[in-house]
């Protein structure tokens, strides 16, 4: 009996994991190059940006919110970082500036949602436009390019054979897993999303929690900006368009519920990998980017349908 219960409670992330494995299987049959170490590392590296943003999005979604501004925040944080580097700031300080700008935007979101009582959709929709505008204003609409060797290493360098960016991503996931599963804050996130009123009446500092959640989400978008800018050796004010949708998709494929109270970072990682594998596979197969769009949409819907079907079986 206990075994069955255990299987049922763990089967959900495994369900999406099964989708990932099946997808990888199909693609590797179609194109053998897929299953080589360099390509797999490549997939991991391509996934980093979305995966890092999606961690923050997962927190937000578990708390029954949504953040539409992450793509714009990424662009804004990227140009701030780039300009700081060009102004000759030391590397750590410049990175701090980028992540800090992202965090600040996120905190503003949080304040609008708690103090201003705005629905998350509205608050972050506004921030989406403000941060984008700020990025364009700061650069006059032109990319800021060309950085030193040590900064470029962040996204392109390797630790042994593993890309440094992938290591960073794994560290972020480990930290997020710990925070959600093992800390008081993590418990609060689930409680706020599951039943805000009950949480409030149990003494959970709901407002502070939400501010922290949106702040982290913005900060992680800033961190993704560091990786992206380093990889491209350039910060674009129009970077990150529709990244928020990719992040939402990764979280939702990974089992997060937009109703709140449900979701896990491991699920989200698998969700982000599914999207990465799909893009990579379709590229290898030479499928046009128009068709790719269709495929990705279909996979998102199929994955969530499967998940829901699984849940209903338990009735």
């Amino acid at each position: 009996m206990n075994l069955r219960r255990a299987i049922i409670s763990y089967a959900r992330p495994f369900g999406t994991l099964a989708v990932l494995v099946a997808l990888g299987g199909i693609i590797s049959v179609l194109t053998p190059y897929f299953l080589t170490v360099p390509n797999l590392l490549n997939v991991a590296q391509q996934t980093v940006i979305n995966a890092v943003i999606a961690v923050g999005m997962t927190l937000v979604i578990i708390s029954a919110g949504i953040d539409l501004s992450v793509g714009s925040i990424l662009a804004f944080a990227g140009v701030v970082l780039a300009q700081a580097l060009h102004a000759g700031w030391p590397l750590p300080l410049a990175i701090l500036a980028g992540v800090g700008v992202g965090t600040a935007c996120g905190l503003v979101n949080g304040l609008l949602i708690t103090m201003g009582r705005l629905p998350p959709f509205i608050a972050t929709l506004g921030m989406m436009s403000v941060a984008r505008g700020a990025a364009l204003l700061a650069t006059g609409g032109r990319p800021v390019s060309g950085f030193g060797e040590s900064f470029r290493w962040l996204a392109n360098g390797r630790l042994a054979t593993v890309p440094a960016a992938v290591v960073l991503m794994l560290l972020v996931y480990a930290a997020a897993y710990f925070v959600l599963r093992r800390t008081k804050f993590g418990r609060y996130v689930y409680a706020v999303g599951g039943n805000e009123e009950a949480a409030l009446l149990s003494g959970v500092p709901v407002g502070i929690c939400k501010i922290a959640i949106y702040g982290s989400c913005g900060g992680l978008a800033g961190l993704a900006a560091v990786v992206l800018t380093s990889r491209l050796n350039s910060a674009q004010p129009i970077a990150g368009l529709s990244y928020e949708l990719d992040a939402i998709a990764a979280a939702v494929i990974g089992g997060a519920s937009l109703m709140g109270g449900e979701g896990s970072v491991l699920g989200t990682l698998v969700g982000a990998l599914i999207m990465g594998v799909l893009r990579n596979g379709l590229n290898l197969l030479g499928v046009s980017s128009f068709v790719q769009q269709v495929f990705i949409g279909v996979v998102i819907i199929a994955a969530v349908l499967l998940d829901m079907l699984f849940k209903q079986r338990k009735r």
Partner: protein, 502 residues
């Protein structure tokens, strides 16, 4: 045969299993036309599950079901509705953002001039007619979100009665109602019975079953114990069938000492809701608070707890004056608030039993923000067994627990917090006789240990049996105060009915 005409519903060999639990193990139930058939059993015995199967909300694993001699599968609620079954669920199923009238006719809205449109005027007037028939004054145009639990309960009743049903199921309809509304509900039940409608009635209040019931079927741990004619049964006999042993229903004797004052309230006012409430509460004291639906009892507790703002009034906690700004602040001051609506305000349904029990005391179970899972589990397990929460494991989501067991989890949350001043709003709502006796013992133990307890309850016997002093509210004011010795049901009721009696 005459028999087949009489029997409206016949369920045979019903089985339902959940992972780790057998909810029903071959249960039979037959219900006759024009009878009130009571289902009795402890928390988690399977009553709601049986009823949900009849309502098409849960699928049975085995067993047959016949309504007026016809076999039914009943795999969707809609199918059950068409078969003439109408259900008032234990947990509310209203859409909070819609109006009372819209909720009553949800899915069966009267058609307007054009298809796809709703005849609003008819909707409201029909709703008004039904509510009037129930003798309640609720504006059909008000939004459900703004109603209290008792009012929501009456809306549920109205919704169930708005269809012409052959079988009406009521799963603990009175657990949120006060004496007066219960009286009205019973009148409605009697009228239905005269019209030949069969009523399946679930309640943990044994007095009610002798007032209204014809026959009773007792379940224990998912098994059928037997069906009896109520007129030929005794209270003690039914309890024995239900619990499997004898049980003393006595209220435990009152503790000895009432200590110094811990809470003083003066002139507490919230416009339109509370009007100049003043009282004091002492260490080791149980202060009962009662009144009719809408008298402002819950509102008083919420205002004290910082959940609602107040317009005027002063509050002292342990001698020093405080302005309680938020629930968080109240909890820091040593207050605890067990809310009446467990689903909406008490529990995070998607979280586990452990997580819910510990939710208000995470500081105790964490160091530097990191949870100490071992301590947490140990404390939750201690409380769960003390309260006899029936659950396959402490990791089970509260969503899957029976109503009474959910209530025990909410109780556990505040015991875990070990608050000094406890505000209990309907603490025994929906829990069985055995558990009730345990909660009464517990309240005694808490007050003996020096806690100050304000207990809100609509059950007069409970208030009379537990309280050292009794406050009565009417229309937002305190309309009376009684010592334990001088309180009688009649005096309290007169006081609750309003200032005109004073």
């Amino acid at each position: 045969m005459d028999h087949s005409v009489q029997t409206v519903l016949s369920m045979k060999g019903i089985v339902k299993r959940y992972p780790g639990v057998v909810a029903l193990e071959g249960v039979d139930l037959d219900v006759r036309r024009g009878e009130v058939h009571v289902l009795l059993g402890e928390n988690g015995a399977g009553k709601s599950t049986l009823v949900k199967i009849l309502a098409g909300a849960v699928r049975r694993d085995a067993g047959t079901l016949e309504i007026e001699g016809r076999a039914y599968e009943l795999s969707t609620p809609r199918e059950a509705q068409t078969a003439g079954v109408s259900v008032i669920y234990q947990e509310f199923n209203l859409v909070p953002g819609l109006t009372v009238a819209e909720n009553i006719f949800l899915g069966r809205e009267p058609r307007g001039f054009l298809p796809g449109f709703i005849d609003q005027a008819l909707l409201v007037s029909e709703a008004e007619r039904i509510l009037h028939g129930l003798g309640v004054v609720i504006d059909p145009r008000s939004v459900v979100r703004s109603l209290g639990v008792a009012e929501q309960q009456m809306v549920e009743v109205a919704k169930a009665l708005s269809v012409d049903a052959r079988i009406v199921v009521m799963d603990e309809p009175t657990s949120a109602l006060t004496e007066r509304e219960i009286g009205r509900l019973f009148m409605v039940i009697r009228r239905l019975r005269e019209r030949g409608v069969a009523i399946i009635y679930i309640s943990h209040r044994l007095d009610e079953l002798f007032q209204i019931g014809d026959r009773v079927t007792v379940l224990r741990d998912g098994r059928l114990i037997g069906t009896r004619v109520i007129a030929e049964s005794t209270r003690a006999g039914l309890i024995r069938m239900m619990v499997g042993r004898d049980l003393t229903e006595q209220f435990p004797p009152r503790g000895a000492t009432v200590g110094e004052e811990v809470l003083r309230v003066e002139g507490l006012t919230r416009r339109g809701v509370l009007d100049g409430i003043s009282f004091v509460l002492h260490r080791g004291e149980v202060l009962g608070l009662t009144g009719l639906m809408g008298a402002g009892r819950t509102e008083l507790a919420r205002a004290l707890f910082g959940a609602d703002p107040i317009d005027a009034g002063r509050v002292w906690v342990r001698g020093s004056e405080v302005v309680i700004r938020s629930p968080q602040h109240a909890i820091r001051l040593g207050l605890g608030f067990l809310t009446e609506d467990r689903k909406r305000q008490g529990l995070v349904l998607g979280c586990s039993v452990t997580e819910n029990i510990c939710l208000a005391s995470l500081d105790r179970f964490s160091r530097g923000g990191v949870m100490q899972a071992g301590n947490e589990r140990a404390e939750a397990s201690r409380l769960a067994s003390e309260l006899r929460v029936k659950t396959p494991s402490l990791g089970e989501r509260v969503l899957n627990l029976s109503g009474g067991n959910q209530q025990k989890v909410v109780l556990g949350k505040w015991l875990c917090r070990s608050a000094e001043i406890l505000l209990f709003d309907e603490p025994t709502r929906g829990i069985d006789v055995g558990a009730k006796a345990e909660v009464y013992q517990l309240i005694r133990r808490l007050s003996a240990a020096g806690k100050a307890i304000l207990i809100i309850s609509s059950e007069l016997p409970e208030i009379l049996g537990l309280s050292d002093r009794i406050l009565v509210m009417s229309r937002g004011r305190l309309s009376g105060m009684f010592g334990a010795a001088e309180a009688t049901p009649e005096a309290i009721l007169r006081c609750a009915l309003g200032a005109d009696a004073a």
